[in-house]
């Protein structure tokens, strides 16, 4: 075994301080295997050392929360003894290196997080961010990532029902692939990871261990440079077939009373799963590495402990249930091996991880000192400088408003993402009530009238310009998208994608976003139940736009009462809920039509988010939907009012006639401003609806009527639905038909 030199320590990503702490914990110099274990356990990815301090400030409780952050996924109570279990996770770096496998294994990993807790996955979402369309790698990355997500999810038979996809220069060298899974379990049959019961067997199931992705967890925690791109660490290849078998076998075993604790092997595989189980249970583990199923010959302990081979699980079983469990896994043609036992803590109450190989003890690590004493940093940060609000009158009007609308709905960011979601099986399991293309997807809870609503949202340019408002807005938009279907928003999972936290400006973005998210979660009763952090999304000093992706889940008791975004019939009134001020700072109009990049101070502040107003307007809209008064609903976000109207028309093939606004706001600001807390609803009886709005103190105004095959805005501006549709639908397929897509 090679000698431990300062270079070796540095290669393992440990700072001098951290190395001193290792020596203190061990009371001696560690060997290579032990050093490797410290290195992955203390990597940013596994230890959250830069983010922990701030994540603790997020609100995580509500009466309906069964389990908040800290386990594999968050759990909420959805009534009738049922629970929804969900989480979002990033696979950014691996997807940049090998888009198909990186994205595929990301989907596989997040599904394991959910089914390891006893839930059957019922839906997947994916939030994607790519570089400029003109960047040479973009097409190749889009093609590979989308195919990888589909390849894994489709084979698993879990519908992929929603997500987002945006393009921006800041992601040229660091794409974001955030995958979310929502699962369904019985509230009284949930599985946790805390090991308990001295002498109980520790069991390994699933695929064999190979030399896959060794050091993946540390890779996810360092910046890219040209040199690391060359080095190309071993990429993990996903095997969705095996994962489908693993899912069925685990659920079959979970229906018995054999499992004490279970944990999937994700980043840092066997190491983090075993340490987590032991640490949570306050016990030790004696592990025999010779018993670990191995795919390759002559694997070292170091390799086995750090391998990130996919489709594996670790569990603690009740003694005496081993044979029954083995029979289940053999039926599903999976490996099953007893690889260890739980042991008593030592005289100081500290559990030990003792690894045996070839009859010798080859590593002995104190569990809690290592697992809990992972460093926690209070990294220096500076607040993001505030920007002035850009007055609508100071923002140039377009030459032609209809051309501007076409630019907004027909460009990379505003166009239809059908090309993506038609490659995903979004209907398998036969419960997808609202397919992709609406505000939130609706997936029926099998065999009931209930449905879960789900969506993923964030507007990174807002977060960049003002992390606090941007953080609030991401949560508010998620809440609005759920509300727009008629569902009650329940809880979120977050995926914090940022640049290098060692830079105070970046850390300031992180701190600000956490503050904004917290504000919004509190005000909207929308707690955080799970999440994931991905830092160092930076290439040669260029960070990504701060991207805290919010995955929201809501519940509707009777899915028959839900509405979609599409107009439902001719002759209905279109009502705009919320106040329109024409906020154009950081708007899509500014970016796509005027070609600004949002980075300059002149691009203004993002729209402020009034959380009390969000709540008031959203609660009003939800009641109107559930009572049947509102027949369609769409929230306003990117691109503002006209874009939302266009989307409603396209979702239905029914046009609309919109009246001239009776305000003194410039028309382009009225059309494309991005003021928050707004919705469009349609109703056959607008008088009553407006009256109820007045009573509730909600601003509401009829702005037009549905019908026809055109969208007409006042007497001067009109576009046919056919032209609107081709403008919206053609961009992505055309972009991806270029040979670079391979």
């Amino acid at each position: 075994m090679s000698e431990i030199t300062p270079e070796v320590v540095a290669e393992h990503g440990l700072s001098e301080d951290e190395w001193q702490q290792v020596l203190k914990i061990m009371g001696r110099e560690p060997n290579m295997t032990e050093l490797g274990i410290f290195s992955v356990m203390w990597s940013e990815h596994c230890s959250y050392k830069s983010s922990k301090k701030w994540l603790k400030t997020l609100p995580t409780e509500a009466p309906w929360v069964i389990c908040g952050p800290g386990e594999n996924a968050g759990i909420i109570d959805i009534g009738d003894g049922q629970a929804a279990i969900f989480k979002m996770e990033s696979h950014n770096h691996p997807s940049y290196i090998e888009p198909y496998q990186g994205a595929a294994t990301g989907v596989g990993g997040i599904m394991r997080d959910v089914f390891t807790m006893g839930a059957r996955p019922i839906a997947n979402l994916n939030a994607l961010r790519f570089g400029r369309p003109t960047h040479e790698k973009t097409r190749h990355l889009v093609a590979g990532v989308v195919e990888g997500i589909g390849g894994y999810g489709n084979c698993m038979g879990v519908p992929t029902v929603g997500g987002e996809c945006e393009f921006n220069k800041s992601y040229d060298g660091n794409i974001l692939v955030n995958a979310m899974t929502v699962g369904l379990a019985d509230a009284d049959n949930i599985f946790y990871s805390a090991a308990a019961g001295i002498g109980k067997p520790v069991v390994y199931v699933g695929s064999k261990t190979g030399r896959d992705g060794i050091h993946g967890a540390t890779m996810a925690s360092t910046e890219f440079t040209e040199a690391t791109e060359e080095k190309r660490p071993t990429v993990q290849v996903g095997d969705p077939f095996t994962e489908k078998l693993l899912l069925e076998a685990c659920l079959e075993l979970m229906a018995t009373d054999a499992i004490v604790a279970i944990q999937d092997m994700g980043a840092a595989g066997l190491t983090s799963s075993s340490f987590e189980m032991a640490s949570k249970g306050g016990v030790g583990i004696d592990m025999n590495l010779d018993a670990v199923p191995q795919r390759e010959e002559n694997m070292t302990a170091y390799e086995m402990m750090l391998s990130e081979s996919q489709e594996r699980m670790l569990m603690v079983l009740e003694p005496g249930k081993e044979d029954m469990a083995r029979a289940i896994f053999e039926k599903w043609e999976l490996d099953f091996a007893i690889i260890g036992t739980l042991t008593e803590p030592d005289a100081d109450g500290i559990g030990h991880m003792v690894l045996h190989q070839d009859g010798k003890v080859i590593a002995d690590l104190p569990i809690d000192p290592l697992a809990l004493a992972s460093p926690e940093y209070d990294r220096p940060w500076v607040p993001t400088p505030a920007r002035d609000v850009l007055a609508a009158a100071d923002v140039e009007a377009p030459k032609d408003l209809i051309d501007a609308l076409k630019t907004l709905i027909g460009g990379a960011n505003g166009c239809s993402k059908r090309w993506i979601w038609e490659q995903y099986d979004h209907m398998v399991m036969a419960d997808t009530v609202q397919r992709p293309g609406g505000d939130a997807a609706l997936v029926r809870v099998h065999g009931t009238k209930k449905a879960l609503a789900m969506t993923s949202d964030v507007t990174p340019r807002y977060v960049f310009a003002d992390p606090v408002q941007g953080g609030r807005q991401a949560v508010a938009e998620s809440w609005r998208n759920l509300t727009a279907t008629g569902a009650t928003p329940m809880a979120i999972t977050d995926n914090m994608n940022f640049g290098n936290p060692e830079r105070p400006e970046i850390m300031g973005q992180f701190v600000g976003a956490c503050e904004g998210i917290s504000d919004a979660c509190r005000a909207l009763d929308f707690p955080v139940v799970s999440g994931n952090v991905s830092l160092y999304n930076e290439t040669n000093g260029q960070g990504i736009l701060p991207t805290p992706t919010i995955g929201g889940v809501g519940l509707i008791d009777d899915v028959a009462k839900a509405v979609g975004a599409g107009f439902t019939q001719d002759g209905e009134a279109i009502v705009l809920i919320g106040e329109t001020l024409g906020h154009l700072g950081q708007s899509q109009y500014l970016m796509e039509v005027l070609g600004r990049d949002g980075l300059s101070m002149d691009d203004g502040a993002p729209p402020p988010v009034d959380l009390a107003l969000e709540r008031k307007n959203g609660d009003f809209v939800r009641v109107e939907i559930l009572s049947g008064a509102a027949t369609a609903c769409h929230d306003l976000s990117d691109g503002g009012l006209w874009v939302a109207l266009a989307e409603m028309a396209l979702a239905s093939d029914i046009g609309a006639t919109i009246e001239q606004p009776g305000t003194n706001i410039p028309l382009h600001a009225w059309a494309f401003g991005e003021d928050q807390a707004r919705y469009l609803v349609t109703t056959p009886n607008s008088q009553d609806l407006i009256q109820r709005a007045e009573k509730a103190g909600v601003i509401a105004a009829v702005i037009g009527t549905t019908g026809g095959q055109e969208l007409t805005f006042g007497p001067e501006h009109a576009i046919s639905l056919a032209e609107l549709r081709s403008t919206h639908e053609d961009w992505l397929p055309e972009f991806m038909s270029h040979p670079d897509a391979h």
């Binding site: 589909g150 489709n154 698993m156 077939f241 078998l245 038609e422 099986d425 209907m427 398998v428 419960d431």
Partner: protein
């Protein structure tokens, strides 16, 4: 009427098929594991969609060699009804119960969307709830649905009227826009589109339901 759904490793539309059949039958539908050997007592055997064996090697190839497939063949030889959807269609072709083969989609991409099908045969146990030339809307969700057969086979299939459904707008490159075919006796149907996904108004339509209603009547 007694029906069952075969389950292979990584079948994943097995439950959807069961739900659709039960909805029309009002009775329980059994799931049969691929290692079993006996299908006696069933009137209808459904081979569901999914990714049996991960679609590795060739779609349906490994499932077609499962122990249960001998029983499926015997069931079909005895005149029993067999319905294969999507991966089930691929399995039936690989097992030789239906002619031809499903190749990779012409655009090499997985396609999931509603498509329109033209009904070509309305005189079978599967399709007599429709009229010839009816256009029905049913989802497809597959990577390998590009029907191919050599010229002689194709001529025979067409000559014998074995085409049950054709795509109105061919999504995958299938020869003659073939979406579903029958065996010569007409008791085995394989089709790429998923009728079991559209039997419920809440999910966007019920154009698939007449097939299941017809099957129930056929053996009632």
């Amino acid at each position: 009427m007694k029906a069952c759904v075969i389950v292979f490793p990584a079948s994943n539309c097995d439950r959807d098929m069961q739900v659709a059949l039960e909805r029309s039958m009002g009775a329980k539908v059994d799931m049969v594991w691929h290692r079993e050997h006996d299908l006696s007592g069933y009137d209808l055997v459904a081979v569901p969609g999914g990714f049996s064996y991960g679609d590795y090697l060739r779609c349906g190839a490994m499932a077609a060699r499962s122990p249960i497939m001998d029983a499926v063949k015997a069931h079909a030889d005895n005149g029993g009804l067999v319905l294969g959807v999507c991966n089930g269609f691929q399995v039936l072709c690989e097992a030789g119960l239906l002619p031809g083969v499903l190749m990779r989609n012409a655009n090499l991409k997985f396609i999931c969307k509603d498509v329109e099908l033209m009904v070509e045969r309305a005189d079978t146990a599967f399709t007599n709830g429709y009229e010839v030339c009816d256009v029905i809307r049913v989802p497809v969700a597959h990577h390998d649905g590009n029907f191919f057969a050599d010229e002689e086979t194709l001529n025979r299939i067409e000559g014998e009227g074995q085409v049950a459904f054709r795509y109105v707008d061919n999504p995958n490159g299938s020869l003659n826009s073939i979406a579903g075919i029958l065996n010569e006796k007409g008791n085995v149907l394989g089709m790429m589109p998923h009728p079991e996904r559209l039997v419920d108004e809440q999910l966007g339509g019920t154009d698939g339901k007449p097939m299941f209603d017809a099957l129930i009547k056929a053996v009632a």
